[in-house]
């Protein structure tokens, strides 16, 4: 549990950080909260030559509203999100998901940006980012760009971030009135990671029917995904028990589920439907 040798630089500006990344290319890794990368390094499964610690860069940790969006700095900790009274009011899915990550120590150190960029197939944030239609801002020495959450998660531990890019900010459209949200997960008892995690954000019309729904699911496959078939079934539907169950049954349509020692692919798919049903029900209350 002792990492291999590495160099460490803690730049104080984002410009410096991206310059370091483009300079060191494949050999460098960005260190955010360190709650995924450091364990992997201690097992020597990850052996980066250089850690670029972005924890000393000022102005990467914030939650603000701007341009109709919630903007969250990449270095904002899970705990900061969990404890934000304003987020509880305008986008409760975020604090709800944050509060279910790991344990208190992890939430105090781990960051939303670090988790998203790591793209663990069982992490909680990817489901939330998908359900909230987040835009992830990536900065590199060539400039800045936005990546839709739906395009961001590519495969196991693999994102659309290019070599030399740093995830700097998460932008989420401020949910409309009559939006209901929920994040529910079955946690693996050892790791606390999601065996299945379902994030739901839905908007009801004046009559109480579902106007639109977004459902993000993590833990089931090699990456988190939007459950398009569930969303389609919910759109325009009345949110009664039967409709919800029928929609939730599509939670893993077209998904190649993974199994492990704790939960087989078959069980994971079943759990996804159960948790989708429960999360949609919770969101529609």
């Amino acid at each position: 549990m002792i990492p291999a040798q590495f160099d460490y630089i803690a730049p104080t500006t984002l410009d410096e950080a991206v310059a370091l990344l483009s300079q060191h290319a494949d050999d460098a890794k960005v260190l955010a909260g360190g709650h995924s990368l450091i364990p992997a390094m201690k097992l020597r499964l990850a052996q980066p030559q250089l850690l670029v610690d972005i924890g000393r860069i000022k102005g990467l940790s914030y939650i603000r509203e701007e341009g109709g969006q919630i903007r969250i700095g990449a270095m904002t900790t899970h705990y900061q999100i969990e404890s934000s009274a304003r987020l509880r009011e305008i986008c409760p899915l975020l604090p709800e998901a944050a509060g279910q990550i790991g344990d208190v120590q992890v939430r105090n150190k781990g960051t939303i940006g670090g988790s998203l960029a790591h793209s663990d197939p069982a992490a909680d944030w990817p489901a939330a980012a998908l359900a909230l239609d987040a835009e992830l801002r990536a900065v590199s020495s060539k400039g800045e760009r936005g990546i839709k959450a739906a395009d961001f998660f590519v495969d196991l531990f693999t994102t659309a971030l290019e070599q030399g890019e740093i995830l700097s900010e998460i932008r989420i459209p401020i949910p409309k009135a009559r939006t209901g949200q929920a994040y529910l997960k079955a946690a693996q008892p050892a790791s606390g990671f999601a065996v299945v995690g379902v994030a739901v954000s839905l908007v009801r019309d004046a009559a109480g029917k579902c106007e639109a729904a977004a459902v993000g699911i993590t833990g089931v496959a090699s990456k988190a995904y939007r459950a398009a078939a569930v969303e389609k079934a919910l759109a325009g539907a009345s949110l009664d028990e039967k409709m919800i169950a029928a929609a939730a049954a599509h939670a893993t349509d077209g998904i190649d589920a993974n199994g492990d020692l704790y939960a087989s692919a078959q069980y994971r798919k079943h759990l996804a439907a159960v948790y989708a049903r429960r999360a949609i029900t919770a969101a529609s209350r």
Partner: protein
């Protein structure tokens, strides 16, 4: 761990087969393969920088092709060892013609040991699928490339993204 699956490649069977047993092509297509040198008939020594995301390891080992029946089937045996553990596998690869395309059916057994086995069990299925996808995606590009063209380069992650959905139907069981 059992790995089985099928992969359809839109290129003709002879070309796919010759790509699959061509060491130069294999070196380009095996994810992270940095070296593949012949050490005997159909036997190669290989160096792989394999992994997913930031989790990577260097493996040295041997690849052997056996029971070669062009263009329909062969057997591949892989044995690699590195700091994060070891990796051993053998599998049957069968090629069938299907409407002008080639249907590859593979089934095999993979054993991992060391740190990757001890700490990575929740990831192994996903990683195996990801690497298989990368490999066959690259093979398809090779088989479709015209002989006079320079060999394609494989940006694995991007290519994997493009081809990921739809093509792979396999089941992986412990």
């Amino acid at each position: 761990m059992k790995i089985e699956g099928t992969q359809e490649i839109s290129a003709d069977r002879e070309r796919v087969y010759s790509a699959l047993i061509d060491p130069a092509v294999l070196q380009r297509c095996i994810p992270g393969c940095e070296k593949l040198e012949a050490t005997g008939e159909n036997t190669y020594s290989a160096r792989l920088r394999a992994g997913v995301g930031s989790i990577k390891g260097i493996f040295n080992g041997a690849v052997k092709l056996e029971d070669m029946q062009p263009p329909s089937r062969y057997r591949m045996i892989v044995d690699g060892k590195g700091q994060p553990g070891f990796l051993k596998g053998s599998g049957e690869i069968a090629l069938d013609e299907k409407n002008g395309a080639t249907l590859i059916t593979f089934s095999g057994d993979v054993q991992v040991g060391g740190t990757i086995a001890g700490v990575g069990q929740r990831m192994i299925q996903g990683a195996a699928k990801m690497m298989a996808t990368q490999f066959f995606t690259a093979i398809e590009a090779e088989a479709k490339a015209r002989p006079d063209e320079p060999p394609p380069t494989h940006g694995f992650f991007r290519t994997a993204l493009r081809w990921f959905s739809g093509f792979i139907r396999r089941s992986v069981a412990r």
